[in-house]
């Protein structure tokens, strides 16, 4: 599914870029079969999310929110790894995405604590 390199750089830059490849930092993109399975898994998880929403006993249980957050996180990670090719791409791209993502998620959690939406009881 990938294509051969189109060489227009200097020999040095080519050597540098190919060194990245040799170091295993760039890999082959997934095939159609992988994309098909990813789409199927995403669809199944979405159906499960909506299904549990309509089970009153589950909605009332303590598992409801953690289960939904877990399913959502799995979908998020699958799309980022396979459709956005972060699993196969250079580590610089991974750092550029995960760094701000960690800051963003920390901000959400911190604001939840600040506005007492999340509370840790100490006594």
């Amino acid at each position: 599914m990938a294509h051969e390199p189109v060489h227009h750089g200097t020999p040095d830059s080519l050597a540098s870029a190919e060194a990245h490849v040799a170091a295993g930092e760039v890999h082959e993109h997934p095939t159609w079969h992988t994309y098909k399975w990813v789409a199927l898994i995403l669809t199944v998880i979405t159906i499960m999310e909506v299904w549990v929403y309509y089970i009153p006993a589950f909605v009332a249980s303590r598992l409801f929110v953690p289960a939904l957050l877990t399913m959502s996180a799995v979908k998020f990670v699958i799309v980022v790894l396979f459709y956005m090719h972060l699993k196969y791409d250079h580590k610089v791209f991974r750092a550029l995405f995960t760094g701000p993502l960690i800051i963003a998620m920390t901000t959400i959690v911190a604001l939840m604590f600040l506005f007492a939406k999340l509370v840790i009881r100490t006594g």
């Binding site: 599914m1 051969e4 830059s13 190919e18 957050l69 979908k75 799309v79 956005m84 701000p100 901000t107």
Partner: protein, 239 residues
């Protein structure tokens, strides 16, 4: 072995010290900044959640006359015309979520078609293979699915307004319309981007040397998809 990054790094622009194309680094940096933008919008929604003093509410029935709310069902004794049902329409939003997920699948197929344009038959024999090899088809399908998602959102917003919820009604309305409206604006920009790529493809054809252009737009499109994955759970499903 694939050398996509190498190809991108040398496809018609000066070499870089990292061996990576600056445009791809830029789109990832942009996506990182967008993470923080949407985190602020989602935080705002979550902080205001449950703090509206007047309805309609997302998951509860509301009687305007008595100010009573109920998560269990319609409120007995509420005068006619004063009872408001839970405003969120989960079946409709589930459909729009599915449409957006499928648009991501179409987008990766468009990218694969462009990357392999110089390898006739890469997708297999017969009409099925030729179907997969058409970047125009998959770009068009992605744009149509994106536009379909926007139609669902327009329907949802319109029905909310008809049911009495506007951006000025309560804290839920303000934070909901701001969050989903920003996301819708991003989807709109993505659809326009895809249509631009489609126009280029129709005019002169997109090939492996243009793969980076499609790759960058695909990254943006998938990011819009993952943001919706978070919004769907946090706003629509969690009560």
């Amino acid at each position: 072995m694939s050398t996509t990054a190498v190809a991108h790094a040398h496809a018609g622009h000066p070499p870089t010290t990292t061996g990576l194309d600056h445009r791809k680094i830029a789109i990832w940096a942009f996506i990182g900044s967008e993470c923080m933008l949407f985190a602020s919008l989602i935080s705002t929604y979550l902080i205001y959640k449950g703090r509206s003093v007047t309805g309609p509410f997302p998951h509860e029935w509301w009687c305007r006359a008595t100010k009573a709310t109920s998560a269990a069902g319609p409120i007995a004794g509420c005068p006619a015309g004063e009872l408001f049902k839970p405003i969120l329409n989960i079946p409709v939003t589930s459909q729009s979520t599915f449409v957006l997920l499928m648009s991501s699948l179409a987008m990766v197929l468009a990218l694969a078609a462009v990357e392999n344009k110089d390898k006739p038959g890469w997708a297999g024999p017969g009409w099925g293979g030729r179907l997969f090899e058409s970047s125009k088809l998959w770009l068009l399908v992605t744009a149509i699915l994106g536009a379909g998602f926007l139609c669902y959102q327009a329907y949802e917003f319109t029905s909310f307004v008809h049911e009495g919820l506007t951006i000025k009604t309560n804290l839920f309305g303000s934070s909901f319309f701001t969050l989903t409206g920003f996301h819708g604006a991003h989807v709109t920009a993505g659809v326009l981007w895809l249509l631009t790529l489609l126009a280029i493809d129709v005019k002169r054809g997109l090939g492996p040397r243009d793969a980076l252009l499609v790759d960058i737009s695909a990254l943006y499109w998938h990011f819009v998809d993952v943001v919706w994955i978070a919004i769907f759970t946090l706003v629509y499903l969690i009560r």
